[in-house]
Amino acid sequence: MSTKLTRRQFAATAAGAALVAGTAPFNIVKAQTGALKIGSIHPRSGFQAQLGIACQRGIDLAPRVLKQLGINANVEIMNADTESNVDVARARAEKLINDGANVLIGAFDSGQSAAIAQVAEQKGVPYIINVAAAPQITEQGYKFVFRNFPTAPMLVGDGLNLMKGVFEKSGITPKTAVFMHVNDTFGQSMAGAIKAMAPRFNLPFQIVDTIAYDPQAKDLSVEIAKAKATGAEMLMPVTRLNDAILMIREMVKQRWEPQIVMSPGAPGFYEGQFYKTLGKFSNYLLTNVPWYNPRSSITQKLLDEFTKSYKNELFELNVGFSFEAVMVAVNAHNAAKSTAGAALADAIRKTNITDHVMAGGALQFNEKGQNVNIKSVTLQNLDQRPKVVLPLDIAEDNLTLPLPSWTKRS
């Protein structure tokens, strides 16, 4: 038996070595002054593709709109796709940083955001979360992670407060409510927050039943039959988009007509697809969510550009928060005059932008990196689009309640 390596074997070894070497970075770009490289990382394929792409639109529009606003936006956007998968998210974040990203923005989903946050923290690259509600992410003591999106308890707190406002304004106060939620990460965070916080809010109604359903449900007929049987006067749903459509469709079929359908802070009712699919049945539903301030001039600029670029899409909060994330990054870059991670993180921590897109106070981060000034609004679907009805100072239309009968709509 020969111990000499043949040429083939040598070639194989060389190939193996090349494999290892091949994963070596070709270009380690050191922090330097110049364009700010923003790594945008979202689920643009896989089961969250729809939402990741919505976020991406806000990012893509940002440099143009910021320039129109006279803000010096010297940025270069690098895109990455998490494929709706936690390990891919982590690897893509590493890749973006390896390729020289100075700031990361993403990632819509809490699990993926948590994975990216670890990488960012470890590499000392600031990471601005545009959308993700799991409270744990900003409770880890991170120095480089910032979130410009409410946590689930913040969403619920605002949502329940606004409910009282809605009852007061409309004069309709339900005595019973049924709470339906999708049983995924977001739904369970929200359910947990509602359970913990509802007693403190002195709500006029009693939650007579809580119905959780599988995120992969293809049929909500049992769930709605059960909810209808409670005879509750209000439905409080926490949904994603597809199940929100299923839910309302099933309510129409089973002719369940509670006086109020009001989401305490979840997606679904205000999304473009919802209106396209349900038409007149989408009207009068309420959602309490963080939303763009329709009175802000920056919102108007962004909205104009959005409509120009994406004629058939609806401008909603994912776009707004994603835009703001870029705004925060650019603002910090201009303040720090550097692209070094630590300098940028310091500048982001000192962010104080009073004039921006989303409703609420100034864009600021607390010591945990959380923006606590975001305020939800009450949206009502009127004329098949979402309109702000509360708070009154930024309202676009009047609150209309109770929910008219499904069968008497034209």
Binding site: R8, D81, Q136
Partner: protein
Amino acid sequence: MIARLIEGVPQRALILLGLLLAAMLAAPLLVGDYGLSVLILVLYFAYTGQAWNVMMGFAGQLSLGHSLYVGIGAYAAAALYVHFGIGPWLGVWIAILLSMSAGLVIGFLAFRFGIGGVYFALLTIAFAEFTRVGFDHFTWVNGSGGFFLPVAQYSINDPLNLRGSPTMFYYILLGITVLAFLFCRWLLTGRIGYYWLAIREEPEAAQTLGINVFRYKMIAVAISAGMTALSGVFFAFYYNNLFPEQIFSMNRSIELILGPIIGGIGSLFGPILGAVVLTLLAEGLTDIMAALGYELPGVKLVFYGLCLLVVVMYLPNGIWPPLRKWLGLGERL
């Protein structure tokens, strides 16, 4: 024992393996952070593929629900750490025991009732799905809300609690993968390896020869489930957050077994090669697509699917067996 491990393996093969190991040991110094994270993925899939291979490649039992064992291992070790402060090196044994028990229950039910082939495969999917929905409601580990481990800062490595830098994780995983490789080699060269071979190729003949088919299938399931649990423990402490939707999903099971099938089922080096090829393919395709300007979501995975299709059509036994023949490395790896 070492003599048994290297018996019948050409010396050239040992040299190549040694060189590969040396390269892997040196890799963290050469490849940079991103490269390291890719290599961790490679090793993760190589190790988990190796674990799956014990059941499928050695004993011929097709499991399509291996995410079950990853999930049980991950959740067990993470819950022990978070709730009771039990470190992963102790927790891992409990995780392995739990996972083995789950495997034994499934194996017992299936093999007692004579379920094999496609039916066995579907039964494994069913159990994984059952557990996924179960964990969605398991509030002790926060159900579908996700289970988060506290993330330590990375200033010091604490291997005892599996808290530290990716380099530390890399070396631990490399060690585990090498041990698993040796362990599998040891299994294959022992009596049990030959029994498995008989059971895989000719179950009826094995029975008539007096091999306790049921018992040896059960052992394969237990070993495979236990090894897979370890990869779950690693997953939990590396990613620091767990979601039933992700960890128990059917996609995850499929992802885990592509490597060994593409690499070459039943061989020792196949799962490792498969993991290398598929991980680099996935990463490489992303870059190639970006370089070519194809930003359209989905393009990359279409090419990934096409590559799988081509390999499975033209290399029915995987990449490694023909490669090993071409390299003249014998049949034992």
